[in-house]
Structures are given as C-alpha cells and as structure tokens.
C-alpha cells in the first residue's frame, strides 16, 4: 500500500482546520435537525405524537403510522397507482416540456444574434423579483378562458415557462458553448435546429440536469391545486393531503406521509448533485 504523505498545504494552520470542522459539525447538526425530527415524528405511536414538549428521539417506535397510511391508500376508490402515475406524468411532461422550450430559447438567445434578445432576457431577469396575490387570480382566469381547468394541461403548461430554469440554461450556454464550433457547422450548411440538437445540447448536459431537478422538485411537491377538481386527475400529494384532512384520527398517518413526500426530492437531489454544482458554477452574471 503506497503510503502517501499528506503534505500540509503551506497556508493552512492546523488550529484553523479543527475550528472549521467543529463549526461545520455543529451547524450541520443544527441544519439537519428538522429532517431527524420529521422522521422521528413519523415513527411515534399516536399517544406519543402529541406529548409536549415533543421528545426528539421516539421512545417506542412503531410503523403503525405507515401501516395506517397504506391501509388508507388501499381503501381509496381511485387506485393509488393512478395518483402516482398522475404525479409522475405531470412532473415528467412539465419538466421535459420546460427543458425543451427553455433550452431552445436559450440557444436562440445566445447563439443567434437577432435584435431584441437582450431586452427579452432583461424581462426574464426582472420577473424573478415580482410576486403578488394577483398572479394566482389572473392565471386562474386565463386557464378558465383556455378551458384547461380540470385537465393535466393546467399543471403542465405553466411549468414550461418557469424563469429560474431558463436563466440557468442561458448562462450556462453562454459561458461553455464556444461560438467557433457553431460557425464551422453553419458553414457546412447545417440548419440551426440540427446544430442545437446535435452539437449544443450534448455540451450542456449539466445544465439540463439541474433544470430537470429544479423543475421536477417543484412539480413533485405540487400539492393541492386550485385547477384540479375531479378525483382521477389529482396528484399523489393532493390525494394524501385530502385523506389526512379527515381529522385528529389521521394525524399519525399525516406524520408518515410527510416523510414519504420528502424522500423523492431529496433522493433526486443526491443523484444529480454534482451536475447541479457544475451548472451553478457557470451561473454568474457576465455583463
């Protein structure tokens, strides 16, 4: 076994390192507290769940809450496989639609010098900052004008136009895709769409993974939506929340549901973490 002497890099004092690590551990624990708390809540039997002040580590853990949740799910008229399908379909359609639209637009804005593109980008940049109670109202009216109320479209279409994903994609394309590669392709007479698909998209892999994660996370957590009425179109979270609204008796299953609902976005983040970091690296403002 080759014994590697770890050379202390010259400007790192041992004391500094130890201090940093302690700080990290302390703050790390403190940050991770809610996750531990949520998991321990879900394992508590009903009577322990309401003990105040709540105990951090569950005293006699039992999976009764999860069993209760699955029993409730199995008793629902609409098979729960359909609710899971709804969530997956909405998340997938919304994410890939957003990915395709955003990357197309980002490519055009960065690589095709048509007039007015700076102004358009500014519009997106500033819209990051706007929020008001009116948007929910006006979106509802628009949806009902298009007749998309109570259909999948009402959940999918708005996701196509999300701002953060587009912003990251544009920054990434601008910084990592050299114009020279495109010029040579254009000289060979390649059409823009072909260039976009063959050359640019493979190069921006980390960007669209980040976009997928953000968009998926948003859509997966989309709980109750004011656009959906009929039973069979409701997403997994929406159905679970309605079961748990049954009253005090359902709070055990509610604690279990929060843990389940938390698992998927966290696992998705773990898988794609490295790519996200890479994309964020290019997210700086050039101008």
């Amino acid at each position: 076994m080759k014994f590697k002497i770890k050379r202390r890099s010259f400007n790192r004092s041992v004391g500094g390192d130890i201090g940093i690590n302690i700080l990290l551990i302390v703050f790390g624990l403190f940050m991770f507290l809610p996750m531990v708390y949520a998991i321990s809540q879900s394992l508590k039997p009903l009577d322990e769940l309401w003990i105040f002040p709540p105990r951090f580590i569950v005293r006699n853990p039992s999976f009764a809450n999860f069993k209760e949740l699955f029993r409730l799910m199995s008793e629902s008229w609409v098979p729960f496989s359909r609710y899971i399908f709804n969530t997956a379909f909405v998340a997938a359609a919304g994410t890939f639609g957003h990915l395709f639209f955003a990357s197309l637009a980002a490519y055009a804005m960065t690589k095709i010098k048509f007039p007015g593109r700076q102004g358009m980008f500014k519009l997106v940049y500033y819209s990051l900052m706007f929020n008001s109670t009116v948007s929910a109202l006006s979106n509802f009216i628009i949806m009902s004008m298009f007749g998309w109320i109570d259909t999948y479209l009402s959940l999918i279409i708005p996701a196509f136009g999300s701002t953060l994903g587009f912003y990251l994609m544009r920054q990434f394309m601008e910084s990592t895709v050299p114009d020279s590669v495109l010029e040579s392709a254009r000289l060979d007479g390649a059409k823009e769409l072909l260039i976009y698909w063959r050359i640019v998209m493979p190069m921006v892999k980390p960007a669209w993974l980040t976009l997928i994660v953000y968009s998926f996370q948003g859509l997966w957590n989309s709980g109750t939506s004011i656009y959906i009425y009929s039973e069979e179109l409701k997403t997994f979270n929406y159905a679970i929340q309605q079961i748990l609204a049954g009253g005090i008796v359902r709070s055990g299953a509610a604690a279990a549901a929060t843990v389940i609902m938390m698992l998927v976005p966290v696992t998705v983040f773990i898988i794609t973490q490295s790519n996200i970091i890479e994309t964020m690296a290019s997210s700086g403002m050039k101008d």
């Binding site: 009577d47 322990e48 005293r59 006699n60 029993r71 004011i226 309605q242 049954g246």
Partner: protein, 1083 residues
C-alpha cells in the same frame, strides 16, 4: 409581584378537606365508551353536581373480582325464581312505566300471550323478591329492544337499591338491525342496487326488533361467565335504572347457570356421527348478513386482493364486512348473524376467509353461536391470527380445529366480538392502570408539576399506601407479562411495555428518593399503557365469506391471490382508472353539466367525509328529489377565483357567507319561502327550516343576516331609499324584499365548554364552579395543589355577553328605546357594527377581569391543553367542545374521568346565572352561479337551478342528513370523530352519553351569535394586540384597549363606506334631521 404569580412549592401538604384517602381501586372504567350514568335524581333539571356524586360513589364501590372473593363460599342457587314483571314495587320505582298484560311474546319460536313492562330512557324499575336461602344467582332477562333513536340500550342493575359492584353499571341490551330488501338489494341472491357504473350501493338498515334473552354479564367481556349476585335469605329488591334508550321486558329469572360442555364432551356426544358425506361446499357471503347488532356494521368494499369474491377492477363491489379502520365490528358485544343451509346431517368444518392486519403479534377473538347457542366452552375464544394477507382457516381456539354437528336444513351462525383468552390479562391491566393514575395524582399533589429530585418529600410518611401499591402493581404486571407471553407465544412489542412499567414501579416503590426524578417517565408510561390497552381491547376483523364443508374435506379454499394474479389485478385497475367516472360515483343518473336539473356542490373536508356525502347524496337526496348532484372535493382557495371566473359551484361552504354576500357572490336564502309550494309539496321554505331544524334560535342566524344596502333585486327594480319610513317594498313569493338578507344556513357549530377532571375534583373535594366568583375561590384551592386552570382568550367576549353587553354599538346606543331590544328590526340591522362597543364600561370591565386571570392569578397564557389535562396538572380549562375528539384519541387512560359542562356564568339580579357563550358557525351558501339560467326580468327564486340548490340545502341541514353524516363518520373513524353539527337534534342523536347530552343541552340554551359587519376582522386583531400589551408590558387593561378603539372604528367606517353600509357621520346627520340627536356620546 402578586402572591400567586410565582409558584412556590410547599414542603409538605396535608390533603385539603377530609378527602377520601382510599386509592382509586375498584374503578372499572369502561375505556371504550365514556362512562354513562344517569344521575340518581331523575328530573331533567338534574345538574352537573350529580355526576360528581356518581364519581364519589364510583370511587367507593368495589369491582366484580373483589365481590366474588367476598362471597367465595356462598353456594350456587338450587331453585329458580321467576319474577312476575307486572307487579313491580310501586313506591320505589320511578318514571314512566307502562304495563301491557296480554302482549304477544315469542318464546323458542312460538307466540305466547304474556304481560310485559316497558321503561323509557329515564326512571327506575324495582321488584321485591323473596329468597329462600342464601345463594349465588345469575339473572336472565327476556327483552324486546324497542325502537328508540338508535343508541345502545343501557341499564344499571340495582340490588337493594345499591350498585353491587362497579361493572354492574353497564348492562347493555343489544339491538337488532336488518338491511331493507328493496331497490335491488336481495340477501338470498346476493344482489345490490347498482349505479350507472355498476358500483354496488349499500342498502339502508332499519331496526328489526325480536324477543331475545340475555343473562346479565360484563359488557366489557372482561369476565366470560355471566355475573353471579349473592342474595341472602329473606326479602330483597332487585331492579334496573335507565341509563339510555327505552326497553320492554317480559320476564326476569334468578337461577344458577349450568356450565357449558367442553369440546371433548361435545365430540363424545356426537362421536358416532360420521363426517357429512357430501362434497358440496356451502358458501355464506359475509356481506349479506341476516342481522347485525349495530347500524354501522355494513357491507364494505375491499380492493386489496384479486380473489375476494366478487371482485372487479372497474367498479366498487361490496364484497366484505367488518374492517380494520373505524368502529365497525371491533368493540365488545357487537355481533353479526348469518343463515345457511346444510344438505346432509353430519360433522362439518366452518372455514372463514378473514383478514386481521392491525393487532401485530396478537389475535382477534370472537364468540360463536350456532342457532343462538354457544355449542361448547372453547367456542367462546375463537382466535383469528394476525397477518398482512387474507387467510382461510377452520374456526379454532389457537390449538384445536373444531368440528361442528349440523343437522340437514337451515341454521343460523353468529359471531360476537369478545376478548377470549385475553379477557383476564386485559382486566388486570385495566384495573392497575386506574390505580396507577390515582397514585400519580397523589404524588402530583405533593411535588407539583416539575418535581425537584433533591427535595425530600417524605413520601413514605405522607402516602405510604402509594408506595406499597406500586410494589404490588409491579409484581402483578410482571406476572401478567409472563401470562401474556405464554398466551401469544412469545415476547415482542406487546410484552415490552408491561415489563418496562413494572421495572419502573419496582424502583419507585422501593426507593422514595427515585420518585421525584422518574415522575416524568411514570407519566408517559401510564399514557402508553392506556394506549396499548385501548388498541389491544379492539378486536378488528374483516370477513369475505364463510364456507361450511364436510369434516372429511381438509382442503382449505385459496386464501391469497398469487403474485402474478395480484399484479395483473393492480395493472388492470390502473388501466381502468382512465375509463371509470369517479365523480358520479353513486349517482344513478349520468351527471351532465348542461342538464338544468343537475347542481354542483363543492366541499373542502377530508376524503372520508366526501365518500360519506357521495353515498348519502345518492341514496337519500337524489332518490327523494330526483335531482342529480355532482359532488366535488376541492382544495381550499378554489372557491373565490372560480366564482370570479364564472366556473364556480352552485352550493359551497364557508365561515363568512356575509363577506361573499355583500359582494353579490351569494344568493340571499330568505327569499326561498316556498309559500304557495311552488317548489314542491315536501320542500321546507326558509322559515320552516329555521323553525324545524334550529327551533327558531335567532342567535344562529345573527352572524349570517345583514341589511345589505345595495341588495339590487334580480328583478332590476329601483331600490327604495332608506330613511323614508313609509317606503313600501316589493313582495315576491310572500317575502318582503326590504334588504334584510340571510346569506347562509348553519351547518357546523363551535362554542367553548368547561372541561374538568372529575377524579381530581372529587379528590380535592372541589365543586364545579357555576359563577366566576366560584372560579376565583377554586383557583386558590387548585394552586395549593400546584394545579392551574386554562383559559381561552375569548374570555372578554364571553364575559361581555354574560353581562348583557353587545359586541357592536347600534341604534340602541344612540337613541332612547323603551322595552325589549328587537334584534331583528331593520333599524337595528341597519346600524349594528357602526362602531365597536369595546369602549363601553361593561366591555372595559370584562376585558380587565379577563386579563386578571393571567396577570393577577398567574394562570398560564399558552399551554398545551391535551397534555396538561391528561396528566391532571391543569384539571380544568375553557376550550372548544370539539376538543372532545382529541382527548378521546390522545388520552384513553383517563376516559370516563373527565367531562365537559356549561361555562361559568355571571349572576344576574334575579338570582339566575347567565352562562352565555359566543359561537362560530360554518354555513352552507348558494353561489350566484346557481341562478345563471335566469332570463332578464325573472326573479332569482324562479331559476330552476337555484330552486334545486335550495332543495339540496334544506335537505343537508335537516336532522336526517346531519345525523347520518355524523354517525357514518364515527363508523369510519371511530368514536373520536364526533361531528359538531349545528342541527340540535342531529347533534343529540350522536353517540353522546346521556350525561354529555344533558350538559350540551344546557349550554345550547345560552349561545349568542356575533353580528357581522364589513371590517369585522379588525376587532379581533386589535383586541389581541391590546391583550398582549397588558400581558407583556403590564399596561393598564382599559388604557390598552382604549388605545385601539379609534383604529378599530376608523377601519369599520372605511370598510362600511366601501360597501355602502351606514357610517357614523351619516347616521348622526339622519338623527339630527329627525331631531333626536340626544345621546350622541364619544363625540
């Protein structure tokens, strides 16, 4: 710092008042249903006091185990004594008793003429009886469950006018329910009524009383054999006191019960009977029983297994009965009876296909009756093992598979929920939980809520019996844990709790210094013991079918679907989910939007409530009125944008219908008077609904009624100006359209009640406070025992209403009116809310007194009610009465030891006490979309859809619908899902105990609604700010409140102006114009 502000801990405390020192032994508390005992005094004015007297009496009486040990050597009775029911003891009996001397009575199948006696849900029936020589007698009663309002029939047994032992308090006489064979339901052919998508609909149940005999035994089934009562030689009296529901009795027999033969004797008796030589397998569908003991035991749908018979992927079929959730067939005493036919005489196996997925590591028990008889002793302890899948097994008692002798022809089989082999174990633990509760309170009295382990409390001197008791309990629990391990065959989740409690008790019992430090653990262990006891007493079971096959055929039917079969089932039902129309589940006619007859109803409750409503809407509303309803379960926050976009519902629910009304989004309901029956014969108009379902209690409608200034009539007539007194108003359909409009019908109701711990109050010798002065004296007594009282911050409003103060100023504050204030007059409605009334002396005084509870008396402002109430540190609190549900689920171990009663009141001059309390109402509203089929010039009441919406609403707030909605929720989610209906009759029809009904009734008489005015949200907000100013910054209460009064009035004026309501300045001008202008204070 006021004397009581900081909590000092007295070194040692001698219990206040000569208190009963006896520990709470012998309290056999029925943990499942709250304890019910009608007070000794029979008259309806019997007061809360009697339930405290009961508590004292209960704490003295011994339990059956001690009763038996005291009469060990008394021999069983030889002779049988039959009591002639007709000649009861006239002096001692009370209440309404009707005797019918030649009533037809069915005895073993034959009709016989005999005399019978019927008692109501109140009163006493006492008989004199002559006992030849001292012996132990069992009592068998021949009874007929007369139809009442559906609750269980309960009697208290009295011997020599005393309760022999505490279990004698709960004699339950079970009812008999049958599915009505109509509209497509037939039991023999196993067919159900079907909706358009082939989903099977549940039949309606009705009572089918028959003559039955009951040998009095423990309704909790802690004791398997019937009760034995020791009657000495000579004259005695024996009788029943009514706890709930009427009952008819034909005969009472005192006799010794012959023991039932064991299974060996049973086999011996039929040893030469061959196994039935037939390979026919008789199938009994569990979902179509002959009769059941409860209205809430009905056919259910199971979709967890592909081979449940019958099963479909695109429709909901009712293929099972019982079930794991809720309160269906899992409480002791509930039974189901089926009938079946056997081709040959011989020995048979009886093989149910069942599922028990709740009590992990334990089994569910049932008691078997064949043709009304328990065949052999072991049939009392049938066991159904735990497994996550369906199982098929011969009926067994955990060890031997039973064979049954059946003659050719039809038979009846009945399965009743029992505790089986667990009875003895659960009895001991239940008794010890009560004792442990008692010990905890005794310690608490001394150490206070957070004991300091370094103080020597000299427990051994003060409460030696508690220490001894703990050591005994520790030994008893260890023994029970061993017994449990042997019964269920192994250690595990269930025994670990018992061992842990017994170990802790051992430490605390031996070393008194350890008591203070481990009190917190002790508290939480009693909690988990209580929860374990509650969940283990429940015996859930789900049955698909029962097969009767010859004893020679050992092949069991297939229990669970194979892997591929269930995957195929799941995939198929997933695919079918794209074709099944779930929204019109239960509708017998296809719902289409543009059919003028159909209406759309939105609800935002939980899914369980939605399922119940869909079922109810179809089999009772649509069936009755022929209007198809599309019921939608939507997310909160959808109603507003949808109504704006015009795609909203016809009927919806909300807390503030006036808010919607003043913005013309909701149709006034008092226009629908159905005067000349234009909506149909049996439809109730607005005032009929008000009279019938809310017995004209105006207070319910105060928050829903407003004089809406811009009530532009739908007919488009110009609106008469206000203050010309002789303006005559249009009269449409018998309703004078003078702008007084009601925008909602009350659906749910919430108000505060006084919760208190009966056991703590009995121990401390305290009485339930009737007035606020009583509360003051009580708080002093409580604080000596380190106990506190919990208050709600709406106290100021409670006190104002109790001293006759109004929440808003109105014309009565500006003009002099003689005589009674008419709170319905247009002038009052026009002016109420013009200014807040919080600046009046009465209001300021109420606010001052409210803050004193916290500043002067040091009671807690923020407290976790359920937790502290459970441990007894906070034995009394004013909280919303719906917290009843949380206590039921969260604190099972104190069930029966607490109660909610009427709020304390303010004594009036005439000596009566005003117990007024504010109410919060959720109401059902008719949205404006309901009238979008109106042609110009038509009045809103002529719109067909609006009329249909009104028909739905008057049906929904009716007693039948509300009562059923409440009962079904209990069936699905258990007793902790009581529904707080605004319909008084429906609320009382719930499974409350007689005492709880009495207490609710008292508070119901003194409820007061708060009028709604635009900008009303600001009043609650600023009173809250004022409260915290006093509590946080010690400001003088009246100054803090007066500081906000101007802000409140400004906001009220601004919002009233925005919606065209009368503002103060306009009103003053109008007064000057009329020359009144006298009493205009607050210039």
């Amino acid at each position: 710092m006021s004397m009581l502000k900081h909590k000092n801990r007295l070194a040692a405390l001698i219990l206040t008042a000569g208190m009963l020192v006896q520990p709470l032994s012998g309290v056999a508390v029925n943990a499942e249903t709250a304890e019910s005992e009608a007070g000794k005094t029979v008259d309806d004015t019997s007061y809360t006091l009697n339930s405290l007297a009961d508590m004292k009496d209960l704490m003295v009486s011994i339990n059956y185990e001690q009763y038996l040990s005291e009469h060990e050597n008394v021999p069983d009775a030889k002779k049988e004594i039959v009591i002639d029911v007709a000649d009861y003891n006239k002096e001692l009996s009370k209440g309404e008793i009707t005797v019918n001397n030649n009533d037809t009575v069915v005895r073993d199948g034959k009709e016989v003429k005999a005399s019978t006696v019927t008692t109501t849900d109140e009163g006493r029936l006492i008989y004199d009886v002559e006992i030849p020589e001292e012996a132990m007698y069992s009592v068998t009663v021949e009874y007929y469950p007369v139809e009442g309002n559906g609750a269980t029939i309960e009697r208290i047994l009295l011997i020599d006018e005393k309760i022999p032992f505490s279990e004698a308090r709960y004699m339950n006489f079970s009812r008999i329910w049958k599915d009505i064979e109509e509209k497509g339901y037939s039991r023999e052919a196993r067919t159900f009524k079907v909706d358009i998508n082939r989903n099977e609909m549940r039949p309606v149940k009705t009572e089918a009383p028959e003559w039955c005999t009951l040998t009095l035994s423990d309704s909790q089934m802690f004791y398997v054999e019937p009760f034995k009562f020791c009657l000495g030689e000579g004259k005695h009296t024996i009788g029943f006191e009514s706890a709930s529901e009427p009952l008819k009795i034909a005969s009472i027999k005192l006799h010794a019960v012959e023991p039932i033969m064991t299974y060996e004797e049973y086999l011996e008796k039929y040893k030469n009977v061959p196994d039935a030589n037939t390979d026919e397998i008789v199938m009994i569908h569990a979902e179509t029983p002959l009769t059941t003991s409860e209205q809430v035991i009905y056919a259910m749908n199971d979709r967890t297994s592909a081979i449940t018979i019958p099963q479909a992927t695109d429709a909901t079929l009712l293929n099972t009965i019982g079930g794991n959730g809720g309160d269906k067939w899992k409480t002791q005493g509930q039974w189901i009876e089926w009938t079946f036919e056997v081709p040959e005489t011989g020995m048979y196996y009886i093989v149910p296909r069942f599922k028990q997925t709740i009590n992990a590591g334990l089994f569910s028990s049932r008691k078997l009756y064949i043709d009304g008889e328990v065949p052999f002793l072991e049939a009392n302890d049938l066991q159904f093992k735990y497994s996550s899948d369906w199982q098929t097994e011969c009926l067994n008692d955990g060890s031997t598979k039973f064979k049954f002798y059946l003659e050719k022809g039809t038979h009846k089989i009945k399965l009743e929920v029992a505790l089986g082999k667990m009875a003895e174990i659960l009895r001991t633990i239940s008794a010890s939980t009560d004792r442990l509760n008692g010990y905890y309170r005794k310690i608490l009295m001394i150490t206070g809520s957070d004991p300091d382990q370094y103080t020597d409390y000299q427990f051994s001197k003060l409460i030696p019996d508690v220490l001894r008791g703990m050591r005994e309990e520790s030994a008893k629990l260890k023994e029970v844990s061993a017994q449990l391990e042997q019964t269920i065959g192994g250690k595990g989740e269930n025994t670990v709790i018992l061992d842990r409690v017994s170990y802790l008790l051992d430490i605390m019992g031996k070393d008194q210094d350890k008591i203070a430090s481990s009190l917190a653990n002790y508290k939480s262990y009693i909690g988990s013991l209580g929860t374990w006891l509650l969940s283990t007493k429940a015996q859930p079971l789900q049955l698909d079918y029962i097969v009767v096959q010859s004893a020679s055929n050992d092949k069991m039917p297939k229990a669970e679907a194979g892997f591929f079969e269930s995957v195929a089932h799941e995939v198929k039902s997933f695919i079918m989910s794209f074709f099944v129309d779930y929204n019109s589940m239960g509708a017998s006619t296809k719902y289409d939007k543009d059919n003028p007859n159909a209406i759309e109803v939105w609800i935002t409750d939980g899914r369980d409530q939605a399922t119940i409503m869909r079922q109810m809407v179809d089999d009772s509303f649509t069936a009755q009125y022929g209007i198809s309803v599309n019921l939608k379960l939507i997310a909160a926050g959808t109603l507003l944008p949808a109504t704006l976009a015009g795609s909203g519902p016809d009927v919806s629910m909300d807390l503030d219908p006036v808010g919607y009304g003043i913005r013309n989004a909701v149709i006034p309901l008092n226009y629908f008077e159905n005067t000349n029956k234009y909506m149909g014969e049996e439809i109730l108009g607005f005032s009929d609904v008000k009279a019938k379902y809310f017995d004209n209690n105006e207070e319910f409608f105060v928050p829903l009624t407003v004089l809406d200034p811009d009530r532009r009539e739908f007919v488009g007539k110009e609106y008469p100006i206000y203050d010309d007194d002789d303006a005559e108003f249009a009269v449409v359909n018998g309703v004078e359209r003078n702008g007084v409009v009601t925008y909602g019908l009350p659906s749910r109701l919430d108000f505060p009640m006084l919760f208190y711990r009966k056991d703590v109050f009995t121990e401390m010798g305290l009485e339930v406070p009737q007035t606020w002065d009583d509360v003051e004296t009580m708080i002093r007594a409580l604080s000596e025992g380190q106990l506190e009282m919990g208050f709600a911050q709406t106290l100021a409003q409670i006190r104002m209403y109790q001293t006759g103060e109004e929440w808003y100023k109105s014309c009565y504050d500006y003009e002099d009116y003689e005589g009674e204030k008419d709170l319905q007059s247009r002038e009052y409605l026009r002016t109420v809310g013009i200014q807040t009334n919080l600046d009046s002396n009465g209001a300021l005084d109420a606010f001052q007194r409210m803050t004193e509870w916290f500043t002067l008396y040091g009671q807690p402002i923020a407290y976790d009610f359920a937790n502290r109430f459970r441990t007894g540190e906070l034995p009394i609190a004013i909280q919303s009465y719906t917290l009843y549900n949380q206590l039921k689920v969260f604190a099972p171990e104190i069930s029966g030891l607490w109660e909610f009663v009427q709020l304390p009141g303010v004594e009036q001059e005439d000596g009566t006490i005003n117990h007024n309390s504010p109410i919060t109402i959720t109401s059902i509203m008719m949205m404006r979309n309901a009238a979008d089929d109106l042609k110009p010039g038509q009045d809103v009441t002529e719109s067909q859809r609006a009329q249909n919406a009104w028909k739905y609403m008057q049906w929904w707030v009716g007693t039948e619908a509300q009562e059923r909605f409440g009962k079904e929720q209990v069936a699905i989610m258990g007793t902790a899902a009581k529904y707080n209906s605004a319909n008084v009759e429906a609320l009382k029809g719930q499974s409350w105990t007689a005492q709880e009904k009495k207490n609710l009734n008292q508070q119901f008489k003194s409820l007061k609604g708060t009028p709604m005015s635009p900008g009303n949200y600001i009043v609650a907000r600023y009173t809250n700010f004022a409260f915290y100013k006093v509590v946080d910054e010690d400001e003088v209460a009246s100054e803090a409140m007066l500081g906000y009064v101007d802000d409140i009035n400004n906001e009220l004026t601004r919002k009233r102006k925005e919606y065209g309501f009368l503002t103060l300045d306009e009103y003053k001008e109008q007064l000057e114009a009329k020359g009144i202008g006298k009493k205009t204070d607050s210039e």
